[in-house]
Subunit: 361 residues, 2 copies
């Protein structure tokens, strides 16, 4: 790929432009907002001008609702040989693109699974897509050259390409991103009017379950609105399980022994399905989630202590798979939980105790 | 406190005994299983013998269902001047204790919010309760001396005492521990039969929401069984919200504009309630959850890199409030998200970039 055009120089568009420019591609920038283009150009994302001839690939980084009309215009003006977008939903835009009679052979949908709290060109970073999945959703009409151009862009952005059907993509993100977000919000909403003494007992479990409920609703209402049916289908299935669980818990409190046993059996079945689903989430490098052993270490809450801890961990040459910081309630110490390969747990514990650390293992 | 008895030398009982012994208290150990007592004694938890005279405090570390009968027996034998237990539910045991005609003036319920995956005396640790909340649930009959003995035990275990009514305790743990556990399992259960391509798109959000769904069902079925009604009440409220959300999402996909706007309004309202509930969870030291800024750092996946990172963080003298490791899919790099005070974010980013780190900020 020698040349590209980025239409829409917000966070994602500017980041794509920065990445492609960094890899030697000549990038032409375009946005309805001239300030945004000038800002992106000033950041070194590309040229704030029109290409002299059609570019190899045009990336439409505009809102889902504007993809079809934008594609119709740029294809009419022959901006590029191939076209893609970066919207977080794929089925609806494709339907609109087809309805407007765009050239589907030169268009492929795309969705980089990357982002950050901030938005706008100034938030753009060339490294934004590093190691992240980037879904490409070719239609039956998408040509091979267009697919390969998109694949080249993904690898230049150092992302990991994943090819899916538009409908499958939308169901996938509903399942692994949009529904979990609402589930987190639903649990957090239960705490809205909780007593302070109740929330004082909150541990790491509820913190993890409700963490993403702290995100900006304005961003999420757009995402959910564009994929509402797929998300509703996932949550409708969850609602059926939830009704069963509530009924089973009522049975667990019943006087009749056989009813209690039946309730216990059904709650246990749900917990086991939860185990099975949890195990389906890939661990690092796409491998199945490994069962790590948690090494809880008591740590004084002052700068430098984590450095000292990880220096000792480093000397023990043990790879940390995950970390949780469980801040102690009411006293100036915290608990750091190091997730490691169970085979390394004993030697790490010994090494840390030798380093003077209090290991709760 | 000069002397104590621990009845039931499992994980919690042995840990209490180890902590009290470490602080100079003479501890007498008792368990139906003689091996468990011998093991705990061999670990230095206390003496595997009967006390020559009533001890100051007896800690009943037996299952919830056996507390009442055990208390009746040990009070009849005058094992101690005061008695407490460590069960994770409090209302049901108190009712049973009262029904058996035990001396309520010398009994106070207790629940240390601490534990680990492993069980049995060998898993016991004197540091297990360090900085953790320890709920005490006095009844109207509980005498001051018994309350003070329990408070002394909590401080000797270096835990943080929280006094609550038994019913309030059970509702609190239903809300901040038991219900979130089932919510996590319900979401994880949706992933049980997901396609690999779907789960490949899983990010940190769904990982956090479903993390505790990986826990042992056998342990949780007992916990949930003893607090079933309180948990069912929390989940019934969540189920009502969920039905509203599913309906609102269907409206979001409707053709009628005003119906879409109404759906959008209701989903946004739930997301804002999620924000409010999320903010109710105390941050470190019981303070309200602060809004930290996330500093994402790309990190090579090999031993020693975290040490190098935190050494640089330490030199920058910035206190890390929380950490997430978001392992990259399909390539040998990971992303470490450092949560810091927003006022320190810029200086830390500068320091890390100076240290050669790729900061996605």
């Amino acid at each position: 790929m020698r040349s590209a055009a980025v239409v829409g120089t917000g966070l994602i568009g500017t980041s794509v432009a920065l990445a492609l420019t960094a890899r030697g591609v000549t990038v032409y920038l375009r946005d309805r907002d001239d300030t945004a283009v000038q800002t992106a150009a000033a950041m070194g994302a590309g040229l704030a001008e029109e290409p002299p001839e059609p570019v190899d690939l045009a990336v439409l980084a505009v809102p889902p609702g504007r993809i079809a009309e934008t594609l119709r215009q740029v294809q009419k003006a022959e901006l590029a040989h191939s076209y893609t977008d970066v919207a977080s939903v794929k089925e609806q835009p494709l339907a609109e693109v087809a309805a407007l009679g765009c050239d589907l052979s030169r268009y492929i949908g795309g969705h980089p699974l990357a982002g950050r709290e901030r938005s706008g060109p100034l938030a753009g970073r060339a490294e934004l897509f590093e190691g992240r999945p980037w879904v490409l959703t070719p239609s039956a009409e998408t040509g091979t050259e267009t697919l390969n151009r998109a694949l080249e862009m993904v690898s230049l952005c150092r992302a990991v390409p994943v090819v899916m059907a538009p409908r499958d993509h939308d169901h996938a993100v509903a399942l692994v991103s949009h529904a979990p977000h609402l589930v987190s919000a639903l649990m957090a909403a239960r705490l809205e009017h909780a007593a302070d003494t109740d929330t004082r007992l909150a541990g790491q479990g509820v913190r993890d379950v409700t963490r993403i409920a702290g995100s900006d609703p304005r961003l999420w209402i757009d995402i959910l609105g564009a994929n509402a049916t797929a998300v509703a289908d996932v949550l409708a299935g969850l609602a059926a399980d939830l009704d069963t669980v509530v009924g089973s818990l009522r049975s667990l409190a019943a006087a009749d022994v056989s009813e209690r046993e039946e309730g216990s059996r059904r709650v246990a079945a749900l917990l086991r399905r939860g185990n099975a689903g949890h195990a389906r989430i890939p661990g690092k490098h796409g491998a199945p989630a490994a069962h790590y052993e948690a090494i809880p270490v008591v740590i004084p809450d002052r700068p430098g202590e984590l450095a000292r801890l990880f220096a000792d961990v480093g000397r023990a040459e043990v790879n940390i798979e995950d970390i949780r910081i469980d801040h102690a309630q009411g006293r100036p110490t915290g608990l750091v939980e190091l997730q490691v390969d169970p085979k390394r747990a004993e030697s790490l514990t010994t090494a840390l105790r030798a380093g003077g650390w209090t290991v709760q293992r």
